[in-house]
């Protein structure tokens, strides 16, 4: 049986990808951030996941205003890093897992989640930066990845509760797949940040740290946080945090916190990171 054993949360700031790609991880600005990911990199080598369900959002890359899916799952075999306007990131192609992805799609659609099924998908920094943070700069990514894209760009996004429930449906889907697989789920984006308007640069350490607490200990209550509270207190782009709830919904109610990390800033953004194992 396939099983989700652990969850990762991490911000996915494009500047982090640029720092890795340009060899700047040891400089004064970036070193404190990358130090925060050393635990996860070591831990990951021991975990050896077979597949990652990688929850992220596209940032006007693969999806433009012609078509905005609320939730999309990618069932293709291989995904190229996208050219976001300055050439594709120099990272390996991402290998999918069509059979498991199709199985998940079938299961969650029958559980009343109205997924869009995508085959061809160029993946942007939202997906590739977390891979770089966890795996460094390998020739090939060490495992398969199923991209799950969430709309957080065009309002309304799905509610936090809907995301949390999708996590639970994903777990059920994985557990009904009859290959033996060690599966992880990653929730990416956030933490507090606002990239636009006179309020750009908003960072809310209190909100972020409360979120880091609650997503561990009281996720069901946290899932009820309305959109407005994210926007108001965590910045217009802080709404990305709803993607962490999908990850959390797919884990046990009780989890062990193997690592917790919080850092300000990466470019315009507060960076948060968790490594969670099912208890």
């Amino acid at each position: 049986m396939a099983k989700i054993n652990a969850g990762i949360a991490t911000s996915h700031v494009p500047a982090i990808g640029a720092a890795i790609d340009n060899g700047l991880t040891e400089n004064e600005y970036w070193k404190p951030l990358f130090d925060g990911y050393e635990f996860a990199k070591t831990w990951m080598k021991a975990q050896k996941p077979d597949v990652i369900l990688l929850v992220y959002n596209d940032h006007a890359t693969a999806f433009d205003l012609n078509l905005v899916p609320t939730f999309a799952i990618a069932t293709g075999a291989e995904f190229k890093p996208a050219d976001e306007g300055w050439g594709p990131r120099p990272v390996p192609n991402v290998m999918g897992y069509p059979k498991l992805a199709a199985h998940i799609a079938q299961s969650v659609i029958q559980d009343d989640f109205d997924l869009t099924v995508v085959n061809t998908l160029d993946v942007d920094h939202g997906l590739t930066v977390p891979l770089s943070l966890m795996f460094g700069q390998p020739e090939q990514w060490p495992c398969r990845v199923i991209p799950i894209a969430v709309n957080v760009v065009l309002y309304p996004t799905p509610s936090g509760q809907r995301c949390y429930n999708l996590g639970k449906a994903l777990r059920k889907a994985v557990e009904s797949f009859d290959e033996d697989l060690n599966v992880q789920i990653w929730g990416t984006g956030g933490m507090s940040h606002q990239l636009q308007g006179p309020r750009a640069g908003l960072i809310n350490k209190e909100f972020d740290n409360a979120f880091l607490d609650k997503i561990v200990s009281e996720p069901a209550a946290l899932a009820k946080t309305p959109h407005l509270e994210y926007i108001n207190l965590a910045g217009s782009e802080g709404i990305e945090l709803i993607m962490w709830l999908i990850m959390r919904g797919a884990l046990n109610d009780q989890v062990d916190v193997k690592k917790r990390f919080y850092h300000v800033p990466a470019s315009n953004t507060a960076v948060g990171h968790l490594v969670l194992e099912n208890k």
């Binding site: 433009d64 205003l65 976001e84 760009v153 108001n232 910045g235």
Partner: protein, 129 residues
Amino acid sequence: MAIDKPYKKVPGTTIFDADMASLGFHLNQFCMSLMKAPNREKFKQNEQAYLDQWPMSDEQKAAVLARDYNKMISLGGNIYFLAKIFSSDGISFQAAASTMTGMTQAEYAQMMLSGGRAPDSSNTLKKDN
């Protein structure tokens, strides 16, 4: 419309909802065209001529030419789309963000290094709003 839009009241913030997306459709799709290198070349050679290929309002075109990001946002631009413009210009997200705040790039960078813009009663809604 009877759907409440309380997010309209968050200070210094524009939420990209369907109304804004409808207003900014062509502006944002123009931005998407800049993801292709040949289009970036054409845009750089003659910005006005390139913009004139898109059914955008004169106000939207003027805001692009002036790189007035707050104005573009008020006219339906979304920051992830507008990012294609400042990426074409070779400008970082942080530099672009600073132009919207009335701070210099150095002041903004320093604010971020010092922990970012703290939330307070001037830049957030009160609980009961």
